[in-house]
Amino acid sequence: MSFRNQFARLRRIFFADPPHRFAWASLLLAIVVAIAPTQDLFNEWRHYQREYLKLVGGRADAAALQRRFEGGIHQIWIPEQHVVDRCTTCHVALNEPTLADVRQQPFQPHPAMPHALNEFGCVICHHGQGAATTVEEAHYSTKAWEQPILPARYLESSCGQCHMDLLEGTPQLNLGRHLLARYGCAHCHAITQPDGTLITPVDEPPSLEHIAEKTTREWIYAWVKDPQAYAVSSTMPNFRFDDQQAADIAAFLIAQSTASENSQLAAASHAASLAPGTDIPQQSASLYGTLFCSSCHAIQNAAGNLVGGDLAPELTRVGNKVDPEWLRRWLSRPQGYDPKTRMPRFRFDEKQIALLSSFLLSKKDEDFPANVHLPAADAQSAARGKKLVADYGCAACHRINGVSPPENFAPDLSRIGSKPLFQVGFPHGMPETLPDYISGKIHDPRAFGPALKMPKFSLTEPQIEALTTALLAQTDRAVTMPPELVRVSPHPKYNPGGEAGRLMEDLRCLSCHTINSNGGDMAPDLTWEGSAVQRAWLLDFMRNPNTLRPALIRRMPKFNLSEDEDKIISDYILSAYQAPGFDSRALDTHTLNADAAARGKELFYSRYVCQSCHIADYKKDKGYVGPALAGVGNRLTPVWIYRWLKNPQALLPGTQMPNPGLSDNEARDLTAFLMTLKAHENGGKK
């Protein structure tokens, strides 16, 4: 049958006469009109709400759950935060804790969270499209909406939109922000946080202004080609320079180098200070150990593990790098080479310097800059090197003669968390999402184009995840948050003054200690140290630091202070670093008698079992979580002990010591007992 015939037949059936035609036209109209309501009837959210009722219908508390359920579109509307979230239309049970055992989405209740659902809605934390009512549009990237749901592992980034302070519940975000400052991201990228503060770098890349004194052209060549080949823990990124580029940069850096202040310093000859016949390797290694250089510096051991701190450069192959003469001058006066270094000026004597440098120079790897034979440097090579140094922004981190720090060198990352994806050219095979873009960029920047300048950093996966989290917090929404929601942590600048201030600058106390919210976090906070310790103990400790915590590997190095220096600094600490309310009226010391001490001993051992964590008597106690207390009667003031026992967190926020909830009398008796503990602190040996 031909098509024409069939058409004629259909016409005969449907449109034979006007009533027929009218009937058909009406039916067609009715169907067209019915499309929209039918579509609505088959909506996904209706389906999920029916499923939900089916799900709760079989439960013991069905009646209560059904009573609390309301059909229809649900919406959380918070105008000042630009929130219009309809997620609860399908996620109907977010606030039903009794459904905790349900593992079927979208019906799981929300796990415990720090904010109420109706105060913040859903998309501020989870991203996605709040106003959508279909699974696809709400959760995934579509043509109209490219911000999909934020993967759970980056969820802490959402907290960072308002919270600039360190939250206990967001370790990943805190780490990420620390790394942005620590790994020098902020040297090249401007990153303004939503509260308007700029992330400032906390690393101190060394000055290269006098580098020719310190090392050789060959070492620089090997280093810029692969920094991690020299020191695995180095934070210097790899720029993937080829041989010629590396040689040019080395030539330029040597050519630009000028004489440092230290070059005037006469360094005693190595041999003269060491008596012949002494066991130099053994002595020097033990000096490195007893000076506690490893509190800050690490050295790889035979098994390949790093032993030591990460505050200062790794020294595994330092013998391959440094000039012996430079090293001896550096050890006697680091600031003379680099005024901004964090290394303290230890008051080493000639013999110590000789021993230490012999130890450090022995730390070398004969294979390290293997087969580096550079042709003699010429002016053209140095000129090419200077261009490379300028092009790759080396001066953004390092001080270099004749090259000024570049401005706006790399893209501003203040809004990276809302970067439109259409601006990104994704490499083949990478999922096209913002978190994948950011982590991919940190992982291997040149994957996005071989001509890009960003170097490759040696970061671990958790570090990349943390950095991505911190960067994802830099959203457009964060800027529009009502100011009363923004939580900022104040960060006042502090530098001690006077003669003691000059000494503390010389000793770089703030590299490790925090005072008045400034400084490093490796060593105890000294803000109220003057109220805590006794003068005689402090004077002795400054000259002979011994460890209070037997289990700690790191400790304060010995600075070889003179008696005068010791007095200046100790008296400054005792008078300047006082806590409020620590006067003679805070505790009546006459009540600290033998009877009280006996009661205190009973409380210490039998009631509060303090020996679980502390040592009061080296012969029988074994607790070593907290500091040893065997000599605490010589170390701490009675008022400090009393106030500490009453509320440790008030004196040192975040201390691990639990507040035992003592009565005034118990605290006094314990104080009396602790003041009787006057053993020598180093294991009872005199």
Partner: protein, 244 residues
């Protein structure tokens, strides 16, 4: 009758345009058929079970399973397939290597709780050998609890704390219970755990060596520790849902 059929088709066509629901689950791309060269008698877990990490995170260590023959020796070339609800397994299918093992990277799902990986291999002579592996995903509250645990609890309650965060476990008598000790801790109600953390060991007639943390930690922090203890309990803790 024929015309009715035509009408019906028209109406169905119209209606089919109304429904928009799409399947949201992303089915993995069709696997390359893997060639199994051998079969084993049983499959066992080698490592990677009971790892704890945040929701959505990739586990630190891969899950490794091993196919063994009836003689107990490893079987190379056996087909192993793995699946787990809510987990992303890479790869989810493999052929055992020379030491009979298959190693799989695991990314946890986005909801807190226990996840179950089932690894299967065809048995010699028909049937399937399976092994179940448990992984633990921590939500916000449990992660908060883990941080409190790492700061205040771990030194006494975890024998394995690292050298710099020394374990105090061996100093104590009676020995503390590890927080994963489900056999003991699952018997205690949430209220009991909160009580013993808040008021110390004597609150449940236990050792004085557990100090009272009620003055140091907030109730929210204590509840977070309990949530963490429940999450890592081994055997798993099964809370009975509260009845209204």
């Amino acid at each position: 009758m024929k015309s009715f059929g035509t009408h019906l088709v028209c109406v169905l066509l119209l209606l089919s345009g109304c429904s928009q629901r799409k399947s949201a689950d992303q089915t993995p791309q069709a696997a390359q058929p893997l060639q199994a060269k051998a079969t084993g008698a049983q499959i066992v877990e080698v490592s990677g079970g009971k790892q704890v990490n945040g929701v959505g995170a990739t586990l630190q260590d891969p899950v490794v399973v091993q196919v063994n023959g009836a003689d107990g020796n490893a079987v190379a070339g056996a087909l192993v397939s793995l699946h787990g609800d809510g987990l992303r397994l890479e790869p989810y299918q493999g052929v055992s290597d020379a030491s009979g093992q298959v190693s799989v990277a695991v990314q946890l799902g986005s909801t807190p709780g226990n996840y179950r990986i089932v690894a299967e291999t065809p048995k010699t002579g028909g049937g399937t050998a399976t092994v179940e592996i448990r992984e633990i995903a921590l939500g916000y509250e449990q992660k908060l609890g883990r941080d409190v645990n790492d700061k205040y609890c771990i030194r006494c309650h975890d024998q394995e704390s690292t050298p710099e965060r020394v374990s105090n476990f061996d100093n104590l008598s009676p020995a503390p219970h590890a927080f994963s000790d489900g056999a003991f801790l699952n018997q205690l109600s949430d209220a009991d755990l909160i009580k013993v953390i808040t008021h110390g060991g004597p609150a449940l007639g236990k050792s004085l060596a557990t100090p009272a943390f009620g003055n140091t930690l907030s109730l929210a922090q204590i509840k977070a520790v309990v949530a963490y203890i429940r999450a890592i309990a081994d055997p798993p803790y099964n809370a009975v849902p509260l009845k209204h």
